[in-house]
């Protein structure tokens, strides 16, 4: 299925480069998701695709449709805004759920708790 819209040369070049960059960044994030060792390392990897990769592909789509319809098409800003708002929220919720489950299970790889330390005895003053 090799077909493409009929764009002028400069626009085709920019759209092609943005598409390849976005897909390559997403593949990098997915490889990180596959290869990294612990969950708390893995949770960082796919955000590369969800922010920069999706941004590149959305800009390419915006440019392509703006030239095809010869008017500014800004639908894709909606998806970009939605992704920017929701990606941190979902990953924060997921990481907190994972932290809770790891603490309940007593997993030794759980990161230490810095927020709720019990105050120790006061140090001796000279």
């Amino acid at each position: 299925m090799m077909q493409a819209p009929d764009l002028p040369f400069w626009a085709a070049l920019i759209v092609a480069l943005l598409l390849l960059a976005g897909a390559g960044l997403t593949l990098t994030g997915a490889l990180g998701l596959l290869r990294l060792k612990s969950f708390y390392q893995r949770v960082h990897a796919p955000t590369l695709g969800a922010t920069l990769g999706a941004g590149c592909i959305l800009i390419a789509s915006m440019l392509c449709f703006s030239i095809l319809e010869s008017r500014p098409v800004l639908h894709e800003v909606l998806i970009a805004l939605f992704l920017t708002v929701t990606t941190p929220v979902t990953l924060m919720l997921l990481a907190r759920a994972a932290l809770y489950r790891d603490r309940v299970a007593g997993n030794p790889e759980t990161p230490p708790d810095f927020g709720q330390q019990q105050p120790g005895p006061p140090a001796d003053r000279p």
């Binding site: 077909q3 070049l13 997915a30 490889l31 893995r42 592909i57 095809l68 998806i79 939605f82 994972a98």
Partner: protein, 93 residues
């Protein structure tokens, strides 16, 4: 000329996104714990959304944009519901 290399670039971007989907699918199946599977599912939703955007560029139709928007919203809702389930044991309290 320009249409030819644009077609080549779109097809190779789709192939790269397909490999990325394969990686997340392996993590989804093999993931040692439930949170790894949920993370793989969330990444799979984002990659499918980008694949639909490339289909939209390829065919020049705006129909695929709406599909991509709906998939992004469903991915957000499902990941929030699944992580709430992992945290509490139920979705609606």
């Amino acid at each position: 000329m320009s249409a030819l290399f644009l077609a080549w670039a779109i097809t190779s971007a789709q192939i790269l996104l397909g490999f990325a989907m394969l990686c997340t699918l392996v993590r989804l199946i093999r993931g040692p714990r439930a949170q790894d599977r949920v993370l793989g599912l969330d990444t799979l939703y984002v990659i499918v959304m980008m694949l639909f955007l490339t289909f939209g560029i390829q065919t020049g139709r705006t129909l695929y944009f709406e599909v991509a928007l709906i998939i992004a919203m469903l991915g957000f809702a499902s990941t929030v519901a699944l992580s709430k389930f992992l945290m509490r044991g139920e979705v609606i309290e």
